[in-house]
Subunit: 200 residues, 2 copies
DNA sequence: TTTACTCTACCTACTAGTAGGAAGGCAAAA
DNA sequence: TTTTGCCTTCCTACTAGTAGGTAGAGTAAA
């Protein structure tokens, strides 16, 4: 009982890794077909058009991300730990090359020429991620864990930019370690010193 | 006496804007030909292959960037002003949509599937930019203008990631103002308070 | 007369997408 | 129980159009 994954899931999995590698125009139905050993036409049966395939793909990605972030929050970890788990997750993805870039970040760079239905979903993911980061920062401030220079929404945007920029640098330099080297100090800076002046 | 630009310059100009919009796989010789009113084959006369075209394009981009950054330094502006001019430049490019993204940042996201000759040049630009930022930060520290949490090289990497991430966010949200909203506080944070505790 | 440039015309390989059929599972009707 | 028909899935074979790239001829200036 090995691969229980349905064909359409396999298609989405391969498409995801191809998009992460080369973006929307960086893959074709033929690539996917070859990778999972079926014919092009079979893919069109599951996903009539490329725009629809990628739309479903992004929808799934958003759902997975939302579920992951929600479970992070529900595990009652402190806001500081939530942030740490978040960047540890990406650090692991980049280090083992399992997913060395965010699908939506990749697609966002091509925003201008994306089918509208895809562009809308990519933007939605950015909004969702910004909202999650904002709420985590806000909670951290209320618990006295963080001290922010700016309002939580702005600080969240700054943090998100750091994360995406760090992914890009890691890729551009071919140094996976750059991701954490850039992001970790950015997060450390948010931590408020406690009353004894020590660092948690 | 209007367009003195040579055909090959026109080709590179159009190709640049097409790459900024959609990346390496987001444009074709046909697109360029249509845009400047010549035939595809004429482009092949100037640039035999696509990889060569983009290589020359990136070489030119790097030269322009180097010249710009060098002149910034030679205008004897303070390190703080140099940084400010740098982000003001990008802010203007993004706001007037004349160049809403860095060519090399765009290509870096597709690093994994770029022709090697192009990938090498993109990486070189990242190294050059990191080196320039490092030297500016270093000079700022020596002049007592900046106070850094980390070593200049690391701080430069963090700053570069912020800039690229901010470009991506501005594009993803369709809000050009996001760029400066993210980058400005990041730079303000570097400034050291002077002996009177005021902000320069 | 060479050189630089652009053209028409063409090539092969690949693009997303379509048409129509074969194979098998499933369920209701005979 | 068998038959009928539907549904899903995948297939072969195809379309029109686009990709990067080539061959060779025309043209104009040095």
């Amino acid at each position: 009982m090995k691969s229980m994954a349905s064909t359409s899931d396999k298609i989405l999995d391969i498409a995801k890794s191809l998009i992460v590698a080369g973006g929307y125009n960086g893959f074709s139905y033929a690539d996917i077909a070859a990778a999972i050993g079926i014919r092009k036409a079979s893919i069109h049966h599951h996903f009539p058009t490329k725009a629809e395939l990628v739309s479903v793909l992004v929808d799934r990605y958003i759902k997975q991300a939302e579920a992951g972030l929600r479970s992070l929050r529900e595990q009652a970890a402190s806001p500081a730990d939530q942030l740490q788990f978040y960047i540890d997750f990406w650090n692991a993805c980049i280090r083992d090359a399992s997913q060395p870039f965010c699908v939506c970040a990749m697609l966002a760079s091509e925003m201008q020429m994306l089918p509208e239905e895809v562009a809308l979903r990519v933007r939605a993911h950015f909004q969702g991620l910004a909202a999650w980061l904002t709420s985590v920062l806000q909670a951290g401030v209320e618990q006295g864990l963080f001290r922010l220079d700016k309002r939580p929404e702005e600080q969240a945007q700054m943090l998100m930019a750091s994360v995406h920029g760090a992914m890009l640098s890691a890729r551009a330099f071919g140094e996976p370690g750059l991701f954490i080297a850039v992001v970790a100090p950015e997060i450390a800076r948010l931590r408020a010193p406690d009353r004894y002046g020590t660092v948690r």
